[in-house]
Each structure stands twice: as structure tokens, then as C-alpha cells.
Subunit: 119 residues, 2 copies
């Protein structure tokens, strides 16, 4: 039952698209991730994902459109919806999703991080 300071946790790593676990509750995990550039197109067949921007902004691309999400805003991507995050500049994001959610969903490639660290 210790509080978590987002900026403090974010200062512990600098790589992109590699989420870290910073909290767990009710079978869900809270993760932090820094992103820059394009991620990979993917979907999660059984998990909804929440993206809350802590710093900066990014575009959540869908096949038919794109949503710009800025600091102080969140977007929920429902299960089964193909998506690709993209950020022109570094962006810091808090994720809420079920424990064990794979960052690349149904895809396995160079972006896949199957064992995110808890920090």
C-alpha cells in the first residue's frame, strides 16, 4: 500500500514501446510506457485496453480513422479492434488492461515483450 509517483517511475527507463508494470488490482494491471514512432498493427481478442496520456500526445490509428489523444485524455480500445499507436514525438502513457495482456496482441514480432518487468 505504497503510493506510486508516475514521473518517478517513468524516470527509470527510456526505451520505447516496452511497457513496465507499476500496479495490479482485480486481475488488471497498470503499466507505463514511453512511445515514439509507429507501433505494429495488432488487436487483442479478449482484452479491452485503456490508454491515458500522461505527457505529450499520440495518434491511435484504426483502419478507417485515427484519434489524437493528448495529455489528460484517455481512449479505450475494445477487444477485437485492430489498432496501431503512433507518436511523432515521445509520449508517455498509462495503460490499464487485464494482467498478462501481450503488448502486440495477436501478433508476434520485434515489438513483442512477453514478460514486462515490474518496477
Amino acid at each position: 500500500m505504497e503510493k506510486v509517483n508516475l514521473a518517478g517511475k517513468l524516470s527509470l527507463f527510456s526505451d520505447y514501446y516496452f511497457p513496465r508494470i507499476v500496479g495490479e488490482l482485480n486481475g488488471q494491471q497498470v503499466k507505463l510506457v514511453k512511445i515514439k514512432g509507429d507501433f505494429t498493427w495488432h488487436q487483442h481478442d479478449t482484452e479491452d485496453e485503456l490508454f491515458l496520456v500522461v505527457k505529450g500526445k499520440f495518434d491511435m490509428q484504426f483502419r478507417e480513422r485515427s484519434v489524437e489523444v493528448k495529455e489528460g485524455e484517455f481512449l479505450i480500445v475494445p477487444r477485437g479492434v485492430e489498432h496501431r499507436p503512433s507518436a511523432a514525438e515521445e509520449c508517455h502513457i498509462l495503460l490499464f488492461e487485464p494482467a498478462g495482456t501481450l503488448n502486440t496482441g495477436n501478433v508476434e514480432n520485434e515489438f513483442t515483450r512477453s514478460k514486462p518487468e515490474r518496477i
Copy 2:
């Protein structure tokens, strides 16, 4: 799949300790609440709760100690742990908890809001 702006949603209400639902995923809900003053002592027997401070600061009181949580910080209160939020000045909080979590947990009194509105 529309994004949610926290400040925009927070501008829609001004009462204290009355959470509004602003998102739902994986059987969990995202709520926003403004608090000021002391809440009521309570616990949730089957739900863990996350409190992320969006603006200001508050004290999460436990029977043996208290934790000050400030903007950009979050605290997870595990199920079964008695707690009482308290804020000297107005504080804005994002909550993440299972759908249907009652704000006063095992207690029913003047603080109880059994049907939070979705905004």
C-alpha cells in the same frame, strides 16, 4: 471509441464525493470524483480500488497511518482494508475499480451513491 478529456468531464459537476462513470472496460469502471473534507470510514470486501490524483492532493487515512497522494500519483487500496479519504482542499481523482463498486463499500449512510451517473 471516443477519447475522454478528464478536465472536460470534471467541468460537468461540482459536488463532492459523488463519483461519475466515464469509461468501462473488462468489467471495470473508470470514474471521476471531486472530494473535499472527510469521507466516511469503510472497506470493500471484494474490490481493490485505485485512486489517481488528477489535481490537488488528499490523504488516504488508514487506521494505523495515512498516505498523502498528490497530483500525478496513485494509490491502490486492497479489498478488505478500511480506509477514509480526506482532503483539506478540493481534489480531483480518477478511480479505477470493478463495475458496480459502491462508494461507501460496507457502509450505507449519507455519502452512499448507489447509482452513479455516466457522463
